[in-house]
């Protein structure tokens, strides 16, 4: 669908078509963001309830073992799928892709709108499971059969069915959105916006979306089959079983097959969340340190490499699952190979800081915080990816600490950084800096207080997903004190998120006016004629791009940034030209 300035008159005028049944990518992005934050708050509360039990076992009578496992499950599933995936792709992707590539909207606006409403339906179905008999499923977010559909697991009647149905609906929504994002990037870039001129944010979201389109089908089929096993009594994943003294009629299915299908989705999912974070944080660091991103080329290839490799590492989640043991060699090797492009990204972020001009704004604080938490989370991945080291650590608190650092906290810090960064474009106002800094410090330090010691509980051998640890002789009493400390830290971090919410709401109406480009950034979204951008984004004429996204501190220029649509001569476009002209890279002389 081609846009032209003549289509400006399609701008909707009624409240309903403008803010509710809107096909404008910016409104849909805000809808996605608000819904994801809302459901994320539910998951945050669930995590704090879990921590109450772990820190002060038995003190809160309403948290019995059933509830505990339900909190564990819903917390994990909401955070991974309904918050992180939805917010990065549906929120940031929706808002930023058209603006950053100079498009007027997504290529399929109606489909885009449907994507949000179907996502909302998925959220509502999931939330409904809190109110059905037996409550939501307590099978753990991995939903491993046979346990997830058998008595003995909370919510094994209605809860699991609603969980699976909600996931299937979510995948429909993600597919509708994902097709849009990919095709918009490929087809709707404005004049001069070559692929290698795109900001890394777009690269990250673009590759993550392609991965989502390839990975979610695997979850879809496993969800359908598990639903059939539950509702129709098929035996895709169910062998002959004697459950609670009853011989069941299942026969011949494979529980391990489910794990393969689940992690064929589940591991790429980690990078579906991580790659947009990588992209966004690259742009935050470059913008706020006033310096071009170090090794743009490598950064793009690292994103593509990670995206591709992440499809051949899934069984590192299954080293002790009972799968063919020879898989261990292959999956340990691929997993450690993926560390190379990931390490390159970390190096390039910190090398961007070298000889830069660091402005420690709130988005930058979160970006630096991300490097630190991602570093520790990535490094602990080398323990768990290396099969023989994984054996004693598998399913202990080391795993909990690892994945929260690498794909919980780190992407969340980027989301916060991104929200503080782009909020002025969305609303035309700045968020309060003092509250933002308070939010950063408590969240960042709290993260270390919560997760750093957990690694050591895992090395000790404390298994995860335990409701209580009484009378285990190998666990010293001091571990309980440590758990109480972690709980207090988690509660403080949890409450501090209210400061963020307050800041978000308050600044929307009362924030200081931001102007069109408060961070003096180069990328196109900051060059819109109006702030917030109007319907169609660009007024009469779409921008024309003359340079890549990272012309910061170009020598000889009056300002320390040159917008991508500026036609002025000079700047770092030499890098870009090599790609356009496909000049031989080796031995090329810099001018």
């Amino acid at each position: 669908m081609a846009y032209s300035s003549a289509e400006q008159h399609h701008e909707p005028h009624s409240f309903w078509t403008r803010y509710v049944w809107s096909q404008d990518h910016k409104v849909i992005a805000v809808q996605y963001t608000i819904t994801a934050i809302a459901v994320g708050m539910v998951a945050l509360v669930l995590s704090n309830l879990m921590r109450l039990q772990l820190g002060f076992p038995g003190r809160f009578a309403f948290i019995d073992a059933n509830h505990y496992y339900q909190y564990v499950t819903l917390h994990g599933m909401i955070m991974v799928v309904y918050l992180l995936t939805a917010l990065f792709l549906g929120g940031f992707g929706n808002y930023l892709i058209p603006l950053m590539v100079g498009a007027r909207d997504m290529v399929f606006p109606l489909l885009n709108m449907l994507s949000y409403w179907v996502y909302l339906l998925a959220v509502l179905v999931l939330m409904a499971s809190f109110f059905v008999p037996g409550g939501p499923t307590g099978a753990g977010w991995t939903l491993y059969p046979p346990q997830s559909i058998l008595p003995g697991t909370p919510g094994s009647d209605w809860g699991i069915i609603l969980m699976l149905v909600s996931l299937l609906i979510f995948i429909v929504a993600a597919t509708m959105g994902g097709l849009n994002y990919v095709i918009t990037v490929l087809q709707a870039r404005t004049r001069g916006m070559t692929l290698m001129r795109m900001p890394l944010t777009v690269w990250g979201i673009f590759v993550a979306t392609i991965m989502a389109l390839l990975a979610f089908p695997s979850l879809f089929v496993s969800g359908v089959m598990l639903l059939f096993d539950k509702v129709l009594g098929t035996s895709f994943f169910m062998p002959a079983i004697v459950s609670m003294g009853q011989a069941l009629s299942y026969k011949g299915g494979s529980p391990i097959l489910f794990q393969h299908l689940f992690w064929f989705f589940g591991h790429p999912e980690v990078y579906i969340v991580a790659l947009p974070a990588f992209g966004i944080v690259s742009d935050l660091i470059s913008t706020h340190s006033r310096k071009k991103i170090f090794g743009y080329h490598m950064m793009v290839w690292a994103i593509v490499m990670i995206g591709a490799l992440s499809f051949v590492v899934w069984a590192h989640h299954m080293f002790v699952s009972g799968m063919n043991p020879y898989f261990g060699f292959f999956f340990a090797t691929t997993t450690l190979i993926i560390a190379v492009p990931t390490a390159i990204k970390v190096y390039n972020w910190v090398l961007t800081l070298w000889h830069s001009d660091i402005h420690l704004s709130v988005p930058m604080l979160f970006a630096i915080g991300f490097i630190s938490t991602f570093l520790i989370g990535g490094l602990t991945g080398l323990f768990l990816g290396n099969v023989s080291v994984d054996i004693p650590l598998s399913n202990t608190y080391f795993v909990v600490a690892h994945f929260h650092m690498v794909m919980g906290v780190s992407p969340i810090l980027v989301i916060f950084g991104g929200l503080y960064h782009w909020f002025p474009k969305v609303t035309g106002r700045l968020m309060n800096e003092t509250l933002g800094k308070l939010h950063f410090w408590v969240t960042f330090l709290g993260t270390y207080a919560i997760y750093f010691p957990m690694h050591y509980l895992g090395i000790l051998g404390m298994p995860r997903r335990y409701y209580a640890y009484d009378n285990y002789a190998f666990i010293p009493a001091s571990a309980q004190q440590l758990n109480a400390f972690i709980t207090v830290a988690a509660l403080i971090v949890g409450v501090t998120q209210l400061v963020f919410l307050y800041n978000l709401v308050h600044s929307t109406f009362r924030g200081r006016p931001a102007g069109s480009n408060p961070w003096r950034a180069t990328t196109l979204e900051w060059q819109t004629p109006e702030t917030p951008p109007g319907h169609g984004n660009w007024g009469a004429e779409q921008p024309e791009v003359h340079r890549w996204a990272y012309d910061y501190s170009v020598p000889g220029m009056a300002q320390d940034f040159v917008p991508q649509n500026s036609a002025v001569a000079g700047g770092g476009d030499d890098h870009d030209q090599t790609v356009v002209k496909a000049a031989p890279r080796r031995g090329r002389k810099k001018t």
Binding site: D64, A65, N66, Y144, P146, L150, G152, T153, P239, A240, I241, V242, S243, M244, G245, A247, G252, P255, S289, K291, G295, H297, M298, V320, G322, F329, A332, L336, A339, V340, A343, I344, L351, W354, H355, S356, D357, I358, L360, I368, I371, S372, L375, L379, N386, S388, V389, I391, P392, T396, Y448, I459, L460, P463, Y466, Y472, F474, P476, Y552, S553
Partner: protein, 376 residues
């Protein structure tokens, strides 16, 4: 500036925490010292990267903070530096991966002379089986599982007749001999995890998995389930007693075989008071996974205050909790279901002395009495 100081402080705190932490590996009790070594290599290499990169960021934050009149450098690409860093990373990765793969190759290759035994998981208890004099385990199938044949051995398989069955949650093993553990589950996924052994593996219904280790010191070690297996997961306890081979053989000799209608070793042998025996029994048979002793809600009714109480059943009728009712509820759990609880308890075949011990224990948890105490 504050952030730089905080990052340096975090690095210092992390290093301090590492060296002062009372939470560390349990003392090794198996041959898998190599796993610990690989862990330490990984820790050293990743620790160095953690410290170096955080400190580098801190340095940049101070050195290149925003100052008036200062402008960022317009660095060209630095392919050479990128090449070096990539190479350095690759070397670090290989230094961790290579030893790891060698250890793993040993891990999946049990010695031919291993002593074989089987651990069977069921929500939420452990049971065990040793091959008898013929050195072979008999065939099993879930079709054969019943209260009398809880491990599901084929009744007509001659190889299974002399299998030694351990129908409680404590197993003995000889020190210094390679052990190959065969793992079987009757219901859901479980995981046989003894932290000091390091080695472990999932139990998967429908198939037999295995792993091996050599116990290197004697002692009594806890078996944990480390794969979420439902609401009683955290209480699926067992014990491995590692002892001298002679003591192990003597213990094995005292156990019953399948052909001789194996039952559990009577707890009364310990000579402890009856309620204390009952408490041990409740733990070893997995009762505590579902029935608390402190009134807290679990899968089934708490035993606190249960004895002598009048329970309302699912059909609305009432029943007093007396020894006869308790015996029935254990041996045929679904005959009477307490209102509000699911009918998920498997039948347990307890001997009369065991039942008496359990009831004695339940009495201590209640201040009520039963008018005419019948004998079960």
């Amino acid at each position: 500036m504050a952030l730089a100081i905080v990052l340096m402080a975090l690095v210092a705190a992390a290093v301090l925490f590492h060296f002062l932490s009372p939470w560390w590996l349990t003392p090794l009790a198996s041959n898998w010292g190599q796993i610990d070594t690989t862990l330490m290599i990984t820790l050293a290499i990743t620790g160095a990267f953690f410290i170096a990169i955080n400190l580098f960021i801190a340095y940049c934050l101070i050195r290149f903070r925003q100052r008036d009149g200062h402008r960022a450098a317009h660095d060209p690409e630095n392919k050479k530096l990128e090449g070096w860093l990539t190479g350095l990373t690759a070397v670090g990765i290989i230094a961790m991966l290579a030893p790891g793969l060698f250890v793993y190759a040993a891990y999946i290759d049990p010695p031919a002379d291993s002593l074989v035994f089987e651990a069977v998981g069921q929500q939420w208890q452990w049971r065990f089986r040793f091959p008898g004099r013929d050195g072979r385990l008999g065939v099993t199938d879930s079709r054969f599982v019943s209260a009398e044949n809880p491990l599901g051995l084929a009744p007509n398989d001659p190889r299974g007749q002399d299998d030694v069955l351990i129908l409680n949650s404590e197993v003995h093993l000889p020190v210094g001999k390679p052990i190959k553990v065969l793992l079987r589950s009757q219901d859901v996924l479980h995981d046989f995890y003894v932290p000091p052994f390091r080695a472990r593996m999932n139990l998967v219904p429908g198939m037999v998995t295995h792993f091996w280790f050599t116990p290197t010191r004697t002692g009594r070690f806890e078996i944990l389930c480390a794969q979420l297996c439902g609401v009683g997961h955290f209480n699926m306890r067992g014990y491995v007693v590692v002892e001298e081979p002679a003591a192990f053989q003597a213990w094995l000799g005292r156990q019953s075989t399948f052909a001789h209608g194996a039952t559990r070793t009577p707890v009364a042998a310990t000579g402890a008071a009856l309620p204390a025996q009952g408490k041990l029994l409740a733990q070893s048979r997995g009762c505590v996974a579902c029935h608390s002793d402190d009134g807290s809600a679990r899968v089934g009714p708490s035993w606190k205050g249960l004895y002598g109480k009048t329970e309302t059943l699912a059909d609305g009728s009432t029943v007093q909790v007396d020894p006869a009712y308790i015996a029935e509820s254990i041996r045929t759990p679904n005959a009477k279901i307490v209102h509000g609880y699911p009918a998920i308890m498997p039948p347990f075949s307890l001997s009369d002395p065991e039942l008496a011990a359990l009831i004695a224990y339940m009495k201590t948890l209640s201040d009520k009495t039963v008018a005419q105490a019948g004998t079960p």
